[in-house]
Symmetry: C2
Subunit: 337 residues, 2 copies
Amino acid sequence: MTNMNHQIILAARPDGLPKETDFKLLEAPVPKLGERQFLVKNIYLSVDPYMRGRISEIKSYAEPVAVGDVMVGGTVGRVVQSKHPDYKQGDVVVGYSGWQEYAVSDGTEMQRFDTSLAPMSTALGVLGMPGMTAYFGLLEIGQPKPGETVFISGAAGAVGSLVGQIAKIQGCRVVGSAGSDEKVNWLVKDLGFDAAFNYKETNDYDAKLREVCPEGIDVYFDNVGGKLTDAVFLHINEKARVAICGQIDQYNATRPPRGPRFLWHLIVKRARVEGFLVFDFADRYSEGQQQMSQWITAGKIKYRETVVDGLENAPKAFIGLFSGENTGKQLVRLAED
Amino acid sequence: MTNMNHQIILAARPDGLPKETDFKLLEAPVPKLGERQFLVKNIYLSVDPYMRGRISEIKSYAEPVAVGDVMVGGTVGRVVQSKHPDYKQGDVVVGYSGWQEYAVSDGTEMQRFDTSLAPMSTALGVLGMPGMTAYFGLLEIGQPKPGETVFISGAAGAVGSLVGQIAKIQGCRVVGSAGSDEKVNWLVKDLGFDAAFNYKETNDYDAKLREVCPEGIDVYFDNVGGKLTDAVFLHINEKARVAICGQIDQYNATRPPRGPRFLWHLIVKRARVEGFLVFDFADRYSEGQQQMSQWITAGKIKYRETVVDGLENAPKAFIGLFSGENTGKQLVRLAED
């Protein structure tokens, strides 16, 4: 095997939308294994909107990635060498190794993944962070009840596409917005959404929401923020729950974004808005994974992956998230398994 | 007794801050009693910030007051004449008779008030709508835990001054903002707030909040909205609860108010923002009244009333709420009891 590891580091702190030159591909020796360590060859890495926050200089729920550090991110791969008694060559493991081909681990923050359940790529998608985000975010924060209307922004993304299907399983009317007609078709024809619209071809969100959610919105699962979310607040019903999962429309803002104040509207509707992070549900992931696996097996949950090949294309795949290049989960494949 | 009833009607829909000329004093005959009806002579009427919403043309949780209608509002008074078997002359009753001296009722939406518990004016304050708003809003929406920091905007108002004292009873550190040094002194010296500041003499809310809430804010009880609330969102802790009770800073806006977007911040902090109306807790008022009565008797809850005499002064008292003329509950006394 090779002795060289390829890595992508953060080369500069992005100003606004990240550029490919904010990242840099480096070559470094594969680290030597110590006792109770093992070497993982990453097969897939995940690019996700949350990473924009991690490379901003503002501390949020975690310290920012320093310029010069390997980019953070979820990975799935195979153990190729082991001095750890519990891990052997060929084991499939999921973790946060970041944007690099090889990583050394002692097993902390690594989980084994059972590929008899589903392909290993799902460890980063429907059975991984996006899947758990959809599952716990909708059920615990959104608390949908049968017959209610659930509206999802970014509905064709890795999280949104699962939220809609879980909401259908709960007996809800499900409506979403997405950024292309192809995505809208996928939501309605393949995933069973009751309605969807292309927000890029909609000038009047208010009129469109009245059309697609004539009985108002009981649960809003927001991945996007901005003007679409402003409009949604005018359509929420009494006792509505708004789950703030992401604000992708805002992540690249170069000046503090401003918008209409809506708190008075929360009083009138006695509505609740709650932000969440999937990590808060970490002790219940196995419950979520089991349920999602069952639904996949039963044909009730479908998922799509957008796969780009080559570590060197990770920055481009990441940047593409902000213009909606992906449908479903965006992955970067580093090697054939 | 007199045969004439004095009433204040809404004469014009206010544009921005209401003016006294938006209201008009009229004289009308006292209605004759039908069977199972009684006549109430109102002793106190309540003026409250929520009434600004009721006289705006926008339908919120209730239909707006029509121009020409008697102004809505809570009242407490005595039965002076009765053809109802359950009500006799001298009974003290609380209801929503509006801004007028006399009202006829069949008992629906009227409650009897026991003046052996507390003076009748408290039926519109600490044991009435403001008291129940404070009690259920803080405990059910804010959910304070011992040792947490509770921050209250509009802390010297009818609701805020009670919220702070209830939070102290819960073992919280309590901080508030108010609009004069006299109010700030009252909060800290008489009501036991741990800190308070005069927002009218504070240019930098951010620095002030860092000073008075050095460990951040776990529960924010918001009566005010606007720039102060913008600043508070930057000081909330993880898993903070924000109870939106009022937005008095916004009620007279003549164009749609805009402000910094903060939803991303709710994700980072996994925080919750919830609007509420006291009416949602109507089936638990007796619980709230009993507890508040006990606390008053035990000296744990103090209250203050700002009383203006004369029905004709009700518009002025109402308008004064928006510049903070009142400390504690603002009442209008229509007659000696």
